[in-house]
């Protein structure tokens, strides 16, 4: 449904937006776009929605190129920008009728459609208010309503739950979940549990580059495993290194900081082919050979670093 190929955007000067981003979204899928601040989520979404052009690369939405067939693409998407820019001097239904008109809802259906969408996002009791009088959460709903008004095939939601209270977060999440199926949805977030709850697949993006694309389950398991281990062991360096190399599945062993004296400790990195039980095997060997084991840590991968940055933010938030 959506094909993003080698997308690059550089802002004026040397400001880096995104570099060489590629991914696909299948029809009916919810894709999560996960990354810390400044990763390039908004930049990517703005290109997908034809708001701004890419420096290079192509995006194809429902068979149309965003650059060549912008109007076709635009009539098939609903977009909720991060800042939810709305006309604060309009009343909610007046605004929604305006958007419905521009998005090609037939004249006769506009009134019904507006009522329907307001019902859907639980806005009906705010019908008499001006948008400027609404709280952040309700503005978010108006934003969502305008994205949904023409019942688009593709929804692009930039941080749809940011700034909402926990109750509203749950409501909006279940609303999004309810929209899935018929529609293809891309949503960005820095909240890991949100993405793993809603999305079938996740794109992790950091510093303008795609770091991983996978299902939430696979990502989680991939992240908790690690195929490199750091160990600090007392003993003769050559013996220890030799012993470690003989463990099943070990690819290489490096000595990071050789011991100063013969009886001191040395630090080793041990790289395993298979990731299962790696720390376990080192510990068992140390036991067998009666080496003193001072430290045994699975080494973090860069992906995990990114994740930690994202997850840390989540913990601060809640």
């Amino acid at each position: 449904m959506i094909e993003v190929k080698n997308l690059t955007k550089t802002y004026g000067g040397n400001a880096r937006g995104i570099t060489d981003i590629s991914f696909n979204v299948n029809k009916g899928e919810i894709l999560g776009f996960l990354g810390p601040n400044g990763a390039g989520k908004t930049t990517t979404m703005r290109i997908l929605t034809c708001f701004m052009p890419a420096t290079s690369g192509t995006v194809n939405v429902a068979g149309f190129d965003v650059f060549e067939d912008s109007l076709q693409v635009r009539s098939r998407i609903g977009y909720l920008p991060e800042t939810v820019p709305l006309y604060t001097d309009m009343q909610v239904p007046v605004y929604l009728r305006f958007v419905a008109g521009l998005k090609g809802v037939p004249w006769k259906e506009i009134k019904n459609r507006v009522a329907e969408v307001m019902e859907q996002v639980a806005l009906t009791h705010m019908a008499h208010k001006f948008i400027g009088e609404l709280s952040k959460g309700y503005r978010q709903r108006v934003g969502l309503a305008q994205a949904l008004i023409n019942d688009p095939e593709v929804l692009i939601l930039d941080e749809p739950t940011i700034g909402l209270d926990p109750k509203q977060i749950i409501e909006i999440r279940s609303l999004i979940k309810g929209l899935a199926g018929a529609r293809t949805i891309i949503l960005s977030s820095h909240i890991l549990p949100e993405v793993s709850m809603l999305c079938q697949r996740v794109v992790i993006i950091d510093e303008g580059k795609v770091k991983a694309v996978d299902t939430p389950d696979n990502l989680t398991s991939q992240l908790t495993k690690s195929n490199r281990v750091v160990a600090r062991i007392a003993g003769k360096q050559a013996d220890v290194q030799d012993g470690l190399r003989k463990i099943r599945g070990v690819k290489r062993v490096d000595c990071l900081s050789p011991a100063e004296s013969g009886a001191g400790t040395s630090k080793y990195t041990i790289e395993f082919e298979m990731d299962s039980q790696s720390s376990n095997l080192v510990a068992r060997l140390a036991g067998e050979r009666q080496w003193d084991l001072y430290e045994l840590t699975p080494m973090k991968m860069s992906l995990e670093d990114i994740f930690i940055r994202i997850v840390t933010e989540e913990e601060i938030k809640q």
């Binding site: 034809c50 420096t55 076709q72 820019p85 001097d89 309009m90 008109g101 998005k103 305008q146």
Partner: protein, 259 residues
Amino acid sequence: MRNFIFILTKEIRSYFYSPVAFVVITIFSVLIGYYFYNIFAAFSTISFQAQTDPMVASQYGVLNVTEFVIRPFFGVVSIVMLIMLPMLTMRSFAEEKKTGTIELLLTYPVKDLELVLGKFAGCMGIFAIMLSLSVPCLLLVAFFGDPEWGVIVTGYGGLFLMGGAFISLGLFMSSLTENQIIAAVLSFASLMVLYMVGSSSGFVGEKMGQFLEYVSILSHFETFARGVLDTSDITYYLLFAVFFLFLSMHSLESKRWRA
């Protein structure tokens, strides 16, 4: 067409939701009304004196209400337009950029042309309301005197065309920046330049002089104020408007060009 209508209604609506339209229209009417009062009072005093005093009568010749009131009145309306219309157009694109609403607007399936024309028509609508408020002044003239209706009709036609030119230029300036003040100052300054170039036509050589005379935005109004419809003047204002609408469209489109 459909999108054009939706944008037009939204524009008119938002002018009236904000105080902009009321302020601009009120100030316009007050200025015009004040000037009209002065000139009409002066005219009646002189006519009254001329009736009783043959000296005064010979000094002014035949007193003609069209010559003495209506033509200067149109002249002043055009100056007030030059000052007030930039304040009407300054917000059209600049405000959408500042508040970010342009991000949604440009992702709707609307052609840039429809957007520009919708905004243009919105301003023209407000301007038409503004202009129509000056009609009572002329009805007053018609009640007391016998003006040339032809001059009034061509005069209003000319004002409307000239307003279209001012508005299209203002829209373009507004599409260049997200700052409304800058948009207003830019439009006002360019209109002033186009207004003043005519006066330097006398000393820059014949060819250049003719060119400046042609470019000068107010000089084309003179024929309308004399009750004459000159196609070259009509063409000037139409071309002017089309040119700046075209530039505004490109200024919007340029956002979609690859860097």
